[in-house]
């Protein structure tokens, strides 16, 4: 039967088209200690901290091909905090900003948490959607399953 009242939203759905806005709000809440922030200038240290925060190990992070780009993005921001770093890796964008590239978007870890690919980024083949999903979070860089599209699909120049 119909629900007679509104169920409490456990998620704020206001961000339907702007997922980064919610994150922005509390981005300053968990600033990294200064000494950590300074060490981030080193790529290896950046990856080590990123691995801890994201739950993806360093080889996995490297396999996205985004290590350098995300490192540059992080260094371009004065205020760096845990939240922003994880957001960058998971969504491909600094909170409140567009992704640094289509590739950054396509390589967002959020899709790898359930072995999926973002809409439009891959062409896994006719009928592939009928198959059972591969279970477990991927441990390799092969999350972009099937035949990827050409350069356009994986973030290169549009054709």
């Amino acid at each position: 039967m119909s629900v007679s009242d509104e169920r409490p939203a456990d998620y704020d759905l206001a961000e339907s088209w702007d997922p980064v806005a919610a994150a922005e709000a509390d981005a300053l809440a968990d600033e990294l200690p200064d000494e950590v922030a300074d060490e981030l200038a080193d790529l290896d240290e950046f990856l080590r901290v990123s691995a801890e925060l994201t739950g993806f190990d360093v080889p996995e992070l490297r396999a996205t091909g985004m290590a350098d780009e995300h490192h540059r993005t992080a260094l371009a921001h004065r205020v760096r905090d845990e939240h922003a770093l994880v957001h960058l890796w998971y969504v491909g964008a600094w909170p409140g900003e567009a992704p640094s590239s289509a590739r950054a978007h396509d390589q967002g870890l959020v899709w790898r948490t359930f072995r999926a690919t973002p809409p439009g980024a891959a062409a896994p083949g006719h009928g592939s959607w009928a198959e059972a999903p591969r279970d477990g979070a991927t441990r390799s860089g092969a999350a972009l399953g099937g035949a990827p599209l050409g350069g356009a699909a994986l973030g290169g120049e549009a054709r």
């Binding site: 007679s4 169920r7 739950g55 599209l149």
Partner: protein, 620 residues
């Protein structure tokens, strides 16, 4: 200099592209005036959308400042209920018209999902069922044109299943051009739980039997016998029936990119650009040409041509036939701007959409969402039958793209868990677990024609060219609200059968389309299916166009598109719109033959390739 076109078509969207193609193929000289800019390829639009990190459906397409388009992000829900609207469409409530459309070459047909079901015979007689209006023609008048449209669009479906599970009278020897698009893994989980079971719709005495049924798509599946037998036929035609030339299949197989809206990156989904690529040489397209009014002889009522604005100037073109194909809302606006075709006072009235009630949750086990087309199967049991007298019927789409339409796409989920403080392995695992189990149900409800739901010219707002902007007054009747109550009751039972966790909630700020009915809150999205604004009927006193989509008051002025439809049923409307457009194109061809009769030596049926006259240029 002054010259006549055989036809001028206003709008190179879904319907206009089809009409121009048909007339061009008959040798007529057709000028197509398109308000928007040239469109990028699907691959380009998809890449732009991803580079921007998402955005509403019109966002990756070029926006001409002179031809703004409304989109869903124009609407904002207010924390205490109600909504505000910005942008092209003035919204005067009480509820929002919650859909967008696109003004660019190819129109909304660029970004559509590509679901292409036929309407059911019952859907053409909604007036008899006590709600809305009847059509002046029925399913059987349209049936051959459905086949022609399915050929032109390249529809993938199983004729046997459509006959048995939907009850469509499809000729026994008919094959769709392509086999049904495979059901998703999610569809199959739902079929395991649902098929053969029953649920109770509180508005209907008898229980409803469930059967997960494949949805017809205008995207490429594996070609059937029909395609391999006929190959690419060289164009049989008759003056009465639809053209049968054109491809049965074109473009690659759907490869499951799961980005159909806003753009298919591989070209497997039909868009009007496919048909435009086959336009005859006698069809000329002018983009960034915004038609501002139709010119008609006040004595005879005959349309003489149109005026359009381009490059900062007004231009006039003259034509034997004028075809408005600018989308339901813009067609009505153009007729109102021109002061034409409105003897019945129905122009702009009867605006309809499919309000889509969404429910969503988590399946007990991973289902692999965000794969394949947006929806591959549905439940048909609530579309027909006696329940229709009491509540709006609905079709249930099984949503393959998780919670994205509801507002809970993966990025939003990640942001939410991040904001909740999750980090590291815990974040990864919890997010993966939740995202992998996401699914949604989309209840697309019929909204009957109601003259109070209306497009008018906004007295207070003008567009950048100085033309009065469209304004909308929109509400959902008790009949639709009862449909929502039934839909939610059915949803609850479906979730129980699945053992799924229901996460449906409609917080006011996130749901501009939100209402309370008998104590329950319902949220809806717009399906993008604008119709009814120049509806067809039997009489000039009560309808705007006749069954050929020809304005009663102006014998050579056509208004084509979903605006002509007196009811939308529960089918996504574009296939029916396409069938109507092809049918009307046949009538236009005969009109043009009659107009040119003194000069025509050959009888109509034999004049298959009328030689074009020297190419015209118009005065401006």
């Amino acid at each position: 200099m002054s010259a006549r076109w055989d036809a001028v078509v206003v709008g190179a969207g879904f319907a206009g592209t089809l009409v121009a193609h048909q007339l061009g193929a008959q040798g007529w000289r057709v000028l197509v005036l398109e308000a928007g800019r040239a469109a990028p390829t699907g691959a380009q639009a998809s890449a732009a959308h991803r580079a921007a990190g998402g955005g509403p459906p019109t966002s990756p397409y070029p926006h001409s400042p002179d031809a703004p388009s409304p989109d869903v992000t124009d609407l904002t829900g207010l924390p205490d209920g109600g909504f505000t609207a910005t942008g092209h469409l003035g919204q005067y409530g009480p509820l929002p018209y919650a859909s967008g459309y696109l003004r660019a070459n190819g129109g909304t047909g660029l970004l559509w999902t590509g679901l292409a079901p036929r309407m059911h015979p019952e859907d053409f007689r909604t007036g008899d069922l006590g709600h809305g209006r009847n059509w002046p023609i029925g399913y059987h008048d349209l049936e051959p044109h459905y086949r022609a449209a399915e050929r032109e669009l390249g529809v993938a479906a199983d004729a046997g299943e459509q006959r048995a599970a939907v009850g469509l009278p499809i000729p026994a020897d008919y094959d769709f051009p392509m086999r049904a698009i495979p059901a998703s893994f999610l569809d199959r989980q739902l079929a395991d739980a649902f098929d053969g079971r029953t649920v109770r719709d509180p508005a209907v005495p008898d229980p409803a039997r469930l059967a997960v049924t494949a949805t017809p798509h205008a995207r490429n599946g594996v070609p059937t016998r029909a395609a391999s037998v006929h190959g690419r036929p060289a164009g049989g035609r008759s003056a009465e029936g639809p053209l049968t030339d054109g491809p049965l299949t074109e473009g690659p197989l759907c490869a499951g990119s799961a980005g159909c809206v806003p753009a298919c990156p591989t070209g497997a989904k039909y868009t009007p650009l496919r048909t435009q690529a086959r336009w005859a040489a006698g069809v000329e397209l002018r983009t960034e040409a915004v038609v501002s009014r139709v010119l008609a002889d006040p004595e005879t009522g005959r349309a003489e041509g149109v005026e359009y604005l381009a490059g900062g100037r007004a231009h006039r073109v003259v034509a034997d036939l004028v075809v408005l194909a600018a989308h339901a809302i813009e067609n009505a606006r153009l007729l109102l701007l021109s002061g034409l075709a409105n003897r019945s006072d129905q122009v702009g009235r009867n605006l309809m959409d499919h309000p889509a009630l969404l429910t969503w949750g988590l399946m007990p086990r991973p289902v692999g969402p965000y794969r394949g087309p947006g929806s591959t199967s549905g439940l048909e049991a609530f579309r027909f039958g006696p329940g229709r007298e009491r509540r709006a019927p609905f079709r249930i789409e099984i949503g393959n793209w998780g919670w994205s339409w509801a507002g809970g796409a993966p990025e939003a989920e990640a942001a939410t868990l991040l904001a909740a403080g999750l980090r590291g392995k815990e974040l990864r695992e919890r997010l993966g677990d939740r995202l992998g189990r996401q699914f949604s149900l989309q209840f697309e409800l019929e909204q009957p024609a109601d003259p109070a739901n209306r497009v008018t010219l906004d007295p207070d707002r003008r567009d950048p060219l100085g033309l009065p902007a469209p304004a909308v007054r929109y509400d959902l009747s008790d009949y639709v609200r009862e449909g929502m109550a039934s839909a939610r009751a059915v949803s609850d039972q479906l979730f129980a059968l699945l053992g799924a966790e229901d996460h449906t909630a409609y917080p006011a700020a996130a749901w501009p389309g939100r209402l309370e009915h008998r104590g329950a809150v319902h949220g809806y999205r717009g399906a993008g299916h604008a119709g009814g604004t120049h509806l067809m009927g039997d009489s000039p006193a009560t309808s705007v166009v006749d069954h050929w989509q020809r304005c009663w008051d102006h014998p050579n002025l056509y208004a084509v598109g979903c605006g002509s439809m007196p009811s939308l049923g529960t089918s996504n409307p574009s296939l029916t719109m396409a069938a109507l457009a092809l049918r009307s194109a046949g009538r236009m061809h005969r009109d043009l033959l009659e107009l040119n009769r003194p000069a025509a030596v050959t009888p109509p049926a034999a004049s298959t390739s009328r030689t074009p006259e020297p190419s015209p240029s118009e005065h401006s």
